[in-house]
Amino acid sequence: MASTTAWRRFAQRPLRESLESIALPIGAVLAALVIFGVFCALAGANPLAVYGSIYKAAFGSWSAWQNTLIRASPLMLTALCTALPARLGLVIIGNEGALVVGGLAAVLVGLGLGGTLPGGLVLLAMALGSLVAGGLWIMAAGALRHYRGVNETISSLLLNYIAIALMNHLVQGPLRDPAFVSKPSSYEIDPSAWLGTLPDTRVHWGLIYGLVASALAYILIQRTTFGFAARTAGGNVRAARIAGLPVGKLTLAVCFLAGSCAGLAGMVEVAAVQKRLNESIVSNYGYAGILVAFVARHNPLATVLVSVLLGGILAAGGILQRSHNLPDATVLVFQGIVFLCVLYSESLYGRFAFFQEREVEAEGAVVAG
């Protein structure tokens, strides 16, 4: 059962197992670096110089950190769209669609209210609009699952295409700004309703949204009866029904919350980055979020860390091309190796004698985990 998380183990288990849950992911990343080094050497670059560049470009300076955080912030939100339903045993991959629908709702609200109300209120309305739109979008997949037995993975995936088609239809038709000739786009939202950057940085407020949403999601799932009910239903849906848990309501509510997070990412993308809606909003943040959620084992706090890691890898992508003449797909190879290693390391829990407590009960805890 994947429902117990590294963090719970970290908090509740004896020292050696806590060490295990730290050492294994770090070991996995180190192993990935070694494999990637072989790849770089084959491609004609000095692996040590490449590592140095990656570190410098991703975490080496405050400017590099900002670059990393800018790329990480949408991933924190889209990752929750997969991570939350996963606790219920649902595999939702409609993150991209929920993000697009959220961006669409934000633009509609922003165009409708922008300039008539104070900027803060417009932003609040845009955020609410995107939360509701994204939430309903994924809730639709949850409802199909609960009432009609439709596989939620397939339906949420297909909803992505519908969302993108809907967005394209609107920006090529009713919402289209004729002054933006060669790229169909909506009108620009009023500058008073633009989402700014954090003081003295170039990181926009989306980062705070992501951190707050992740923290709230963590508390909701791990520290409330609602979260306990959801995890129980995820563990064994029949047992949950027999225990009298409202599985249908839980499914719809969790899917709504999940979709809202991705929808909010769409609002941030519109209000802080693009300022108008066009196909640039479809830039794979949703799909990257799925990856983040799985690597983070659907733990809402771990998704933050994994998002920053992925943000750093993406931030380093440019320097690999520019300073080392590596092909542009190199960063994808690196990303793939890191995530494969982290996922593979999952299978190593409990395999090293060093991390086992000497008492018998520790072994039992791993098996039950």
């Binding site: 790849f39 931030a315 092909p327």
Partner: protein
């Protein structure tokens, strides 16, 4: 009892296979790019600092540099600039999406590589990303392909350049019209925006100048890169008995290869695709960024800037100004078709041949131009085109 490994849907075998695939990719990537390795720039070239007189120019592409299309055309131009103008060092980044990622790439090129001139080539980079960066770095020049610069509205260190490539499409249309017995031509198009419509119309007008019965069937795919739909459209055109197919999508590779397999003639776009269709490639409308970038590179090295006004903020031109060119004729092209194509190209270059002249009607019967009127290439009305001319089969909406 499910072990953790399975819970995520990865068996050990799959993981091992994945790792092997990654390593294999590494090997192929090495072979694929082996010739592009330059030993001179390695290690910490960026951090070592540049020689004092060196000018660092950054190019940013939205897709891969070898897409046989839009990005390759720019990348070849960039390579030509470096080869032709001494003192320029090129930094490049490919596959950069039109999000904050491109803003970060520009910033990194400026701050880490010391770039003084940037060519972010994708259309969607301009607003808001280039405009924001240009305000923040007023001493860096930003040149953008697309003609979006507005005097007085946009920062002084931004310029735009674009070519009237529909002139080359007209000539390609002449060749296609001559090579097709039935006069049935096909055009795989991405989106119904003015620039695409203009290419379709010019291609059709070219064909109809030599074969008044020629028609162009248009299929829109809806996206700039939609390989599956592009292949479907090409196949359905081949099924209909269409004899020459051209396109306006980001990478014409799929269209050209599919048509070649079906034994249909092709006419390229963006870059030279003759190697993809050794038998059926007739000619193609190509960007000639090599000449434009070389000229700009020489200007930069001579100390000219957008800010000082030495370099115009809007650069435009067609065949005559070397903004675009035609692919060399393929082996199938007859001497008669070559002669007509050359004559049309010469007429356009000299200004004697005007593509849009009356009487001209749309394919729904509305009048575009009366008999005594014409619109020259640089007429801004042509950039708002929202119709198909007579002879095009298809609808703009």
């Amino acid at each position: 009892m499910s072990d953790r490994n399975r819970a995520f849907g990865f068996s050990r075998r799959q993981v091992v296979r994945g790792l092997l695939a990654s390593s294999a990719f590494g090997l192929t990537a090495k072979f694929g790019t082996g010739c592009a390795q330059s030993p001179s720039t390695g290690g910490d070239a960026a951090a070592d600092g540049a020689a004092p007189e060196e000018l660092v120019v950054g190019f940013i592409y939205v897709g891969p540099k070898d897409d046989y299309g839009y990005n390759q055309a720019h990348a070849e131009g960039a390579a030509a600039m470096v080869a032709n103008v001494p003192g320029i060092r090129l930094v490049e980044e490919a596959n950069v999406p039109e999000t904050t990622a491109v803003a970060e790439t520009m910033r990194s090129m400026i701050e880490i590589d010391g770039a003084k001139v940037l060519f972010p080539t994708s259309f969607g980079y301009f607003d808001p990303h280039i405009l924001n960066m240009a305000k923040e770095f007023p001493d860096v020049q930003f040149l953008h392909a697309g003609g979006l610069y507005q005097e007085g509205v946009h920062p002084n260190n931004v310029g735009s350049y674009f070519g009237y490539i529909d002139e080359a499409q007209y000539v390609a249309g002449v060749v296609a019209g001559r090579m097709s017995k039935s006069g049935k031509l096909g055009f795989v198009a991405a989106k119904p925006i003015p620039q695409v419509l203009r290419n379709v119309n010019s291609f059709t007008l070219g064909a109809r100048s030599v074969n008044p019965a020629a028609t162009t069937q248009v299929i829109f795919t809806g996206e700039w890169a939609e390989p599956v739909k592009e292949a479907e459209a090409t196949n359905s055109m081949a099924d209909q008995g269409i004899e020459v197919i051209t396109c306006h999508v980001d990478s014409p590779k799929v269209v050209i290869e599919t048509a070649e397999k079906r034994g249909v003639y092709t006419s390229g776009y963006h870059a030279d695709q003759s190697s993809l269709a050794p038998k059926g490639y007739l000619t193609g409308a190509e960007w000639d960024w090599s000449s434009i970038y070389t000229k700009l590179g020489q200007d930069f090295m001579a100390g000219k800037t957008l800010m000082a006004g030495d370099i115009p903020h809007i650069l435009r031109g067609g065949l005559a100004d070397n903004f675009c060119k035609l692919s060399p004729y393929g082996p199938a092209v007859t001497d008669e078709a070559k002669a007509d194509g050359d004559a049309a190209a010469a007429g356009i270059k000299s200004g004697d041949l005007v593509i849009y002249k009356g009487p001209l009607k749309t394919n729904t019967g509305d009048e575009v131009l009366p008999a005594d009127k014409e619109m020259k290439t640089n007429n801004v009305e042509l950039e708002k085109m929202d119709y198909f001319v007579e002879g095009v089969i298809g609808s703009v909406s």
